[in-house]
C-alpha cells in the first residue's frame, strides 16, 4: 500500500518520502474521506506549517470534536483527542490550563464549533484563551447526512431544507472578531500556500486564533446543489476568491455562489486568559499566590 509506484521516466531517490507521512497514523490509511473532500488538503497545510515552524511536536496537541473534520484527531500522529460533539473547545481549555506549555490546536467542523459548540466558541474567544482553532467549513453537517448548519448559505438545498435555506447564516470571521479573537483569517482549500502560512503564523501567536477554511464536500453539500465534484469546488474557489487582507469582517459574509473574501482580517494583541488570571491573583494575593504545579510528565 505504501510503496511508491515507479512508472516514471526518471529515478526517485530511495529515501524520498511524502513529508505528510510522519504526521499521520499511516496504519489508518486510507482515510474515510470521500474522493474530492478537502479535509485532507487542510491536513497537508497543517503538517507543512508544523514543519516550517519547527514546533516541538511533543508539545503540540490536536483536539477535535465529532464530524468528518473531527476525524483529523484520529489520523494525526501527535497527542490528539477526539472529544464529544461540540466540546472540543472546553476540552482544549482544560488541557491548556492544566498544561500551559502545550500548544493546543482545535481542529473541527463548522457544525461542531458553531452549532452545538457555538457557546463555547464565543466564550473561549472572549477570554482570549490561548488556543489555535482551525475550522473546516464545508457549510453543512456532513457526517450526519448534509443537514442545514448555522453556516449554510441562503437558498442552498440541504437534507433538512429541501426547498432551500431561508434562515440567515453566521459569518464566522465576523463572529470570531466580535467575540474577541486575537487573530482571524479565512482561506479556502485552493489557497494551500497561504493557508499553511497562516497556520504557521498562529503557531507562534499568543491568544485565541481562528482560521476558517472553506472546503469542498462533494458528497453531501454539492451534490444536492448541482455544484459538481471536489475539483469543481476548487475551481470555483479559485474563480471567486478575492484576497483582501484587513477587510472589515462585516463585509465578508458568504453566499451560495458569490465572491469569497479571503485573507487575514484581524491580528491584534490582548492579554490572554492565563496572563489575566495571574495578574489578578498576584494583585489580590501578592506572595500568597503560587502557580499550581499541574504539569504532566508526558
Amino acid at each position: 500500500m505504501n510503496q511508491v509506484t515507479l512508472e516514471i521516466p526518471y529515478e526517485i531517490p530511495v529515501d524520498a518520502h511524502n513529508p505528510v507521512e510522519p504526521f499521520l497514523r499511516m496504519d489508518r490509511m486510507p482515510h474515510i474521506w470521500c474522493p474530492g473532500c478537502g479535509i485532507g488538503t487542510t491536513v497537508n497545510c497543517f503538517t507543512r506549517a508544523l514543519l516550517d515552524s519547527k514546533a516541538n511536536l511533543d508539545k503540540v496537541a490536536v483536539v477535535s470534536g465529532i464530524g468528518c473534520t473531527g476525524r483529523v484527531a484520529g489520523y494525526a500522529n501527535l497527542d490528539s483527542f477526539h472529544t464529544t460533539h461540540g466540546r472540543a473547545l472546553p476540552f482544549a481549555t482544560g488541557l491548556k490550563l492544566a498544561n500551559p506549555e502545550l500548544q493546543v490546536v482545535v481542529y473541527s467542523g463548522d457544525g461542531d464549533l458553531f452549532a452545538i459548540g457555538g457557546n463555547h466558541f464565543i466564550h473561549a474567544a472572549r477570554r482570549n484563551m490561548d488556543l489555535k482553532v482551525i475550522c473546516v467549513n464545508n457549510l453543512t453537517y456532513a457526517m450526519t447526512g448534509g443537514q442545514t448548519a448555522p453556516t449554510t448559505p441562503d437558498h442552498v438545498i440541504s437534507a433538512t431544507s429541501p426547498y432551500g435555506v431561508f434562515e440567515p447564516s453566521f459569518n464566522l470571521v465576523a463572529l470570531a472578531e466580535a467575540a474577541g479573537a486575537s487573530y482571524v483569517a479565512r482561506w479556502t482549500t485552493y489557497h494551500v500556500k497561504q493557508l499553511s502560512r497562516s497556520m504557521e503564523e498562529v503557531l507562534s501567536k499568543k491568544g485565541f486564533c481562528f482560521i476558517e477554511v472553506l472546503s469542498p464536500c462533494p458528497t453531501l453539500y454539492q451534490r444536492r446543489n448541482k455544484m459538481g465534484d471536489g475539483l469543481d469546488a476548487m475551481k470555483f474557489y479559485k474563480q471567486v476568491s478575492k484576497i483582501r487582507h484587513g477587510a472589515p469582517t462585516s463585509e465578508c459574509a458568504l453566499t451560495k455562489s458569490g465572491e469569497i473574501v479571503v485573507g487575514k482580517f484581524v491580528d491584534r494583541d490582548r492579554p490572554d486568559y492565563l496572563e489575566l488570571l495571574r495578574g489578578q491573583m498576584t494583585e489580590s494575593l501578592g506572595d500568597r499566590y503560587a502557580e499550581p504545579e499541574v504539569s504532566c510528565s508526558c
Binding site: V4, T5, I8, P9, P19, M29, N44, V192, L231
Partner: protein
C-alpha cells in the same frame, strides 16, 4: 534533466484530479487505467518539466502524491 521528481502511490489515490489541475507545469494527467478501488490515478506525462515544487503533495487530500527537488 528535471529539477525534481514526483512520486505517486497509485493505490491510495481517489482520482480527484486536484494534482493534475494545479500542477503549475502540467506534469500530470489522470491515467485511463484503474487502481484496485476503481479510481483513475494520475501518471506522469511530462516528467522533465517537474520542478519538485510539491504543490501536488499540498493539494492531494489522500496523501497519495508528492514532489521533491533532486539534491544537487
Amino acid at each position: 534533466m528535471a529539477k525534481g521528481f514526483v512520486a505517486i502511490t497509485v493505490e491510495r489515490c481517489k482520482g480527484c484530479g486536484f494534482c493534475v489541475e494545479f500542477c503549475p507545469t502540467h506534469v500530470l494527467a489522470l491515467s485511463s487505467a484503474f487502481n484496485s478501488k476503481g479510481y483513475h490515478a494520475p501518471h506522469v506525462v511530462a516528467g522533465e518539466k517537474c520542478s519538485g515544487c510539491d504543490l501536488c503533495g499540498m493539494y492531494c487530500p489522500d496523501f497519495a502524491i508528492f514532489g521533491a527537488r533532486y539534491a544537487r
